[in-house]
Symmetry: C2
Subunit: 108 residues, 2 copies
């Protein structure tokens, strides 16, 4: 059994620098494929391929707008990574728990 496919494992999907760059770019808001081609220095098919990978792990979603496709982040799909990181930051998580409690008390 080798590494889980990039198209099924968000960790692996995010293992590629170009895909991370695309995601950072999308953090600013929706963008068309051609816009992203301008951001990343890759030919359009390569970008479309990366977007397809990110779509399959649900890290990005897209909607049609005329002949363009506007891609946007799907932040909730980052949850597995957040959780995994949380495994190592017990101290940090403790603080977060306290935060939740405190914030809930603050604005009920």
């Amino acid at each position: 059994m080798a590494r889980a496919a990039t198209t099924s494992d968000p960790f692996n999907a995010v293992g590629d620098p170009q895909r991370r760059q695309i995601m950072v770019s999308l953090a600013r808001g929706e963008a068309s494929v051609s816009t992203l081609v301008g951001v990343v220095g890759l030919p359009q098919p390569a970008v479309s391929r990366h977007l397809a990978v990110l779509r399959q792990v649900d890290l990005v979603r897209c909607r049609a707008s005329g002949r363009q496709r506007l891609y946007r982040l799907n932040e909730p799909a980052l949850e597995p990574i957040h959780q995994w990181l949380g495994t190592f930051a017990a101290l940090w998580n403790d603080r977060l728990d306290r935060v939740d409690t405190i914030l809930q008390e603050e604005e009920p």
Copy 2:
């Protein structure tokens, strides 16, 4: 230019499930290679290889103890991943900032 090597990019290094499992296991504390072989269901050379990868990106460190080598996590090496995630969690970060403030006020 393809994907950065697993031995140089922590994101890619962590893209492998077995390596993540090893890291989760190490979150409990130091462990020898043979212990980790028991945890992950892989032959010893495979585990040593994974550990070598994690060592090269400084995600784990090891010390000799007799004929064993005890591996442990090096949490600070997770910082790049934390930061990258932070890019997308603006809302979350806002809450964290508030937490810091609140906690500082609580216990000066």
